[in-house]
Homo-oligomer: 448 residues x 2
């Protein structure tokens, strides 16, 4: 006998079995539906790009993690590690074909050769949305505000617990520009990148260690001032007044945060938002608002969606200055969060009905019957069955996650599989009517 090849997947990669894939797709569909309702449009870009495009000036963590190789033609190519760099390349390439501001979403896989011991995956899906354009169209409070509204709606839809899901979403906002203005006053602007990274670690490493890091970067006195800034707390307007003062008084950045808060109040959603000066985001390209989102039921799981404004997205590929604001939902973290609070879809099939095909020769008639159910919006399977082993058939249909079985002869017998109850003497229309009256018997998610 020939040797078998072990059917294993690479470390950090995953198979999605039907129940997990159905849950993931339903979550994506909910988020996508919100993006679409705001008029955001989908794009797609290649999984593989020239390495030069993906790494740009290169260096750092990214270069270590990227899946990079030479193709058969000797080109230096790599798998995308995020959807932001491809968006920058895409927008530079197609700027003249796109309507500005260009509001796009992109839901796709990315690959990073990360250390899997930290519970990270090497292949995962990102759900990004961004609004970009020339600064005059795209760099305004309307766009900042819109992305915040959309994230609140997307996360609310994702939770979809019934009742006031929105109350479970908390979005923490800050302004990089205002923080940089404050650092300027401390004469620490040149150390901005390192300071931002240190502050970004606060939640993970704690106050004492952050202070040590900051003191090493900017000196003892500055470290204390920075801590005072990022620990400013209170309601939005109070916090903003303190931050503005520490940053040297009125400024366009302070004004932007004030306008955004007015909009949040006017829209009646201010309760979901906090001005949180310790939110800085690790990425260098942010220049304006930055934000992270938490589920109040699960603060410990960390941010499930984050983003911010960047002043010049595609500067590596075009001389046109494209400004924008965007968001990325951490799908895996969100799925983990939902599953730990018992949310999300839990089913292994879309079918509601299994038709027992006890007589192979009648296969055409079973499918004809099935087509009536399908036309009425009832997904159903035709499954081979042994007339003498109907109990085994019922068990197997129930194991598939199906709620009802149909025995078809001169009339139809409908069996409620969990109740083990038969209703006899029906026709197809009566079965449809019974099932449409019992929709709550099976989780009814979006059938895409």
């Amino acid at each position: 006998m020939a040797c078998l090849i072990e059917p294993k997947v690479l470390k950090g990669f995953r198979d999605f079995l039907p129940a997990d894939e159905i849950a993931r797709r339903e979550l994506v569909a909910r988020i996508e539906s919100v993006y679409q309702s705001y008029g955001y449009v989908p794009i797609d870009t290649p999984a593989l790009e020239y390495t030069e495009i993906l790494l740009g000036k290169g260096g750092g963590e990214t270069e270590k993690q990227i899946y990079r190789f030479a193709d058969a033609g000797g080109r230096d190519i790599a798998l995308r590690f995020d959807l932001t760099v491809p968006l920058a390349r895409f927008t530079a390439a197609h700027a003249d074909e796109l309507s500005m501001p260009f509001k796009r979403y992109h839901i796709a896989k990315v690959w990073r050769g990360e250390n899997t011991q930290r519970g990270r995956y090497r292949e995962f899906m990102q759900c990004d949305c961004d609004a970009i354009g020339d600064a005059k169209d795209a760099d305004n409070a309307l766009a900042d505000f819109e992305i915040l509204c959309m994230m609140r709606d997307a996360l609310t839809a994702a939770i979809n617990e019934g009742g006031d899901s929105a109350a479970q979403v908390k979005i923490c906002v800050n302004h990089r520009g205002l923080f940089n203005r404050f650092l300027d006053r401390l004469n620490a602007q040149g150390k901005s990148v390192d300071i931002l990274r240190a502050v970004d670690k606060l939640a993970k490493i704690g106050r004492a260690e952050t202070r040590t890091l900051l003191a090493g970067i900017a000196g003892e006195a500055a470290a204390d001032e920075i801590l005072a800034y990022i620990e400013t707390a209170g309601n939005w307007n109070e916090t903003l007044a303190t931050l503005a003062r520490m940053a040297g008084g009125a400024s366009p950045e302070d004004e932007r945060l004030r306008i955004i808060y007015g909009m949040l109040e006017d829209a009646g959603i201010a309760d979901s938002f906090t001005l949180a000066p310790s939110i800085t985001r690790g990425l260098d390209y942010y220049t304006g608002i930055v934000y992270e989102s938490f589920l109040t039921a699960l603060p410990g799981i960390g941010s499930v969606c984050s983003g911010g404004r960047y002043g010049n997205l595609a500067g590596l590929y075009t001389r046109r200055t494209l400004s924008g604001v965007g968001a990325s939902v951490g799908l895996d973290r969100l799925i983990a969060a939902l599953s730990s609070i018992g949310g999300g879809t839990q089913r292994a099939t879309y079918a509601r009905l299994a038709i027992a095909a006890t007589n192979e020769a009648a296969g055409g008639l079973y499918q004809l019957l099935a087509s009536q159910f399908r036309a009425a919006g009832i997904p159903c399977e035709v499954l081979a069955a042994d007339e003498k082993k109907l109990t085994a058939f019922y068990m197997s249909a129930e194991k598939r996650g199906i709620g009802y079985a149909v025995l078809a002869g001169d009339t139809i017998t409908l069996r409620d599989l969990s109740a083990r109850k038969n209703t006899e003497g029906l026709n197809a229309q009566e079965v449809i009517a019974l099932l449409n009256n019992n929709k709550n018997r099976q989780p009814q998610g979006t059938i895409l």
Copy 2:
């Protein structure tokens, strides 16, 4: 000034701009909806796998085309080149967790370093569905018949021209096993693979050249007999009688084709199917029925969906014999076909409404108004606008593909952008009522 990096994509790879991506997603959604209505469930597998798993015994075209490299840990890995090999690996790995027969679909990208001069892409999407299981559950006429029904429905849904789209779908069926039985009678069974490949080229290279190929493989006399077999024509039963006779009389394969035809007749869909002995499919693993599908409006474009039955899918990875029958829709070819007959979606946005945000400070109120439209199922955008340049705003909204603009003050003015007609003095509910009465003003595809 720093040098720019040219924002180009790799040869054979594509960006999908919004209009193309919307069309592709809608087509996928239609096909997927049919798969789901038959009770097929989605799975996902990694884009990257161990090369050993993807190539198996390896060799041939596949090895030349595969994107293969070593990862940072020195593993020999590659991008999947189809969804069938990953399905085999997946089913072997998870056989005990899956309900058999396992009916799954998988819609995902695959990568092949093909010669792009033949109009092929190096990254493309496959839409596969398969029903697999142990032979006793999965190798039956019910399953063969089901996949044929499902393909007819999927292509009909994809065309979706209104009227009788099904009449535009033609599916040509054959049986590999019956053909092999015939070759056995010719003592040409050992040359089966080469003969099948030669026959598969008939449509492309013509009769004379195919005959030359066949004569080279099996001799002059056999070549003529093979041509006679594959050129047998007539209605299903007549053709089948001829083929069965040439293959040596009654056989299980002949019986299978007879049963399938009875089912097609019982279901009232036999008109869409032809028994076509020249259909052989190039792939080695098919052992039972094979089929290809054509759009009658565009026979020249070739098969838009094909598949067949295989006797042992996962023999490389498990000793369990898994039989199955499947189909793969050629999405790119189908999109090209639809676009050439003016079908498919043609729109660049989901938004039906653009709200003119003429006063930035009122941003919260515009989004509040927008949220009412969204809740009523009307996707809408809030776009910054200059009150003194409303004409420019209207043009820009129309260019985005949006049908209506809203000016919001004490009351709402709704502007029909293509008719250039304003309706004044409305409230939000009246706008919703007007738009819901005018749904036909904008293509209304599935919003996922």
